[in-house]
Amino acid sequence: MSEKVLLVDDEKEFLEIMSERMEARGMQVTTATTASQALSIIEEKSFDAIVMDFQMPGMDGMEALKTIKSKKPELQIILLTGYATVEKTVEAMKVGATDFLEKPADIEALSEKIKKAKAEKMLIVEKQTEDKIKDILQRHGG
């Protein structure tokens, strides 16, 4: 099954070319040019991974990362950035980023990270389902 990816970047041309190349690799790509647009999209659709620029006008990557993780903790977020300091990287990973990739990114490396993110998300969802079933069984005297 193809990976469902939300690509977020304020550079429209980057979004166009990246989505074309990712779709050519069998992924289903949705794009957003701002973090707030991305937040509305994740309310409506489900994704295996979000690939997001770290520095954007308005809400920046770190703020967006915190908001997405608080709303949907199972979502896997790969951050793309022009330059990231070690400090920022550590902070983002602590907040819940799945991975980091520096621009210009290698599409094959990005595809690999997306596949890993999808597998990670599936594990989290499976665990959540298992916990729910256990909880139901306990409450109903199983």
Binding site: I17, A24, Q55, P57, G58, D60, G82, P104
Partner: protein
């Protein structure tokens, strides 16, 4: 005195670092687009001959996009180079409006990220200053940052120049100021001792006009 010099060095390095970080980020963005276009050419050349194949028109479109982003990166490098050369001489005679426009051009990405719009009203006649251009650019950026931090409403700032030729001045007028910041002092607005060391070095004073939501950088006498 030595302490003031240290503060000037600190604020100067901080300014140059901030501008370099912003410029290199933008260059990286341009390189990322160039990289993806090169990758797309590679992808298309590997595809079997069908309606998605590489046509001469498509190849030309990709070439134009690459050229556009090479030009974009070059422009950013030119601005960074200009900034570096502004520290070549201790003092230089320059047109104040040109310096303001250069700083705005250099910092446009940082200002845009805050959703602020800045417009410049040119002076009636050229305003010439003889000063340390690098530190003046630094001070203008500090004033823009201060204006951006207090502007509210439609988030518009107008930069204009005083008409008194004996007292060169730059004015920053905000569309609206955040209510809780209206009564703040200049110290609160600029927030650091380094900025005041910068003002002292350049011989500039600040004047605040609460009624029309503005503040100005003024040279006490023509320099």
């Amino acid at each position: 005195m030595a302490k003031n010099k240290d503060m000037l060095t600190d604020i100067g390095i901080q300014f140059f670092s901030q501008m370099s970080a912003s410029a290199t980020h933008e260059i990286k963005n341009a390189l990322a687009i160039i990289n993806e276009n090169a990758g797309l050419l590679g992808d298309l050349s590997m595809m079997p001959q069908n309606e998605h194949s590489l046509t001469p028109k498509r190849a030309n479109d990709i070439a134009q996009k690459v050229a556009k982003h090479v030009q974009r990166a070059d422009l950013v490098l030119k601005k960074l180079n200009w900034l570096s050369h502004s520290a070549d001489q201790v003092t230089q005679i320059e047109d104040l409006e040109e310096i303001v426009c250069f700083v705005l051009d250099l910092t446009s990405r940082l200002v845009e990220q805050q959703g602020v719009i800045i417009e410049v009203t040119p002076p009636e006649s050229p305003v010439i200053v003889d000063t340390n251009i690098f530190y003046l650019e630094n001070m203008i950026w500090k004033a823009i940052e201060a204006a951006c931090s207090v502007v509210a409403g439609e988030k518009k700032i107008i930069i204009s120049f005083g008409n008194d030729v004996t007292i060169p001045s730059i004015w920053f007028s905000m569309s609206t100021i955040k209510d809780d910041l209206k009564n703040n002092s200049m110290e609160d607005m600029f927030g650091s001792k380094e900025v005041f060391a910068l003002l002292a070095y350049l011989g500039i004073s600040i004047e605040k006009n609460i009624e029309n939501n503005s503040f100005g950088l003024l040279w006490p006498k023509r320099i």
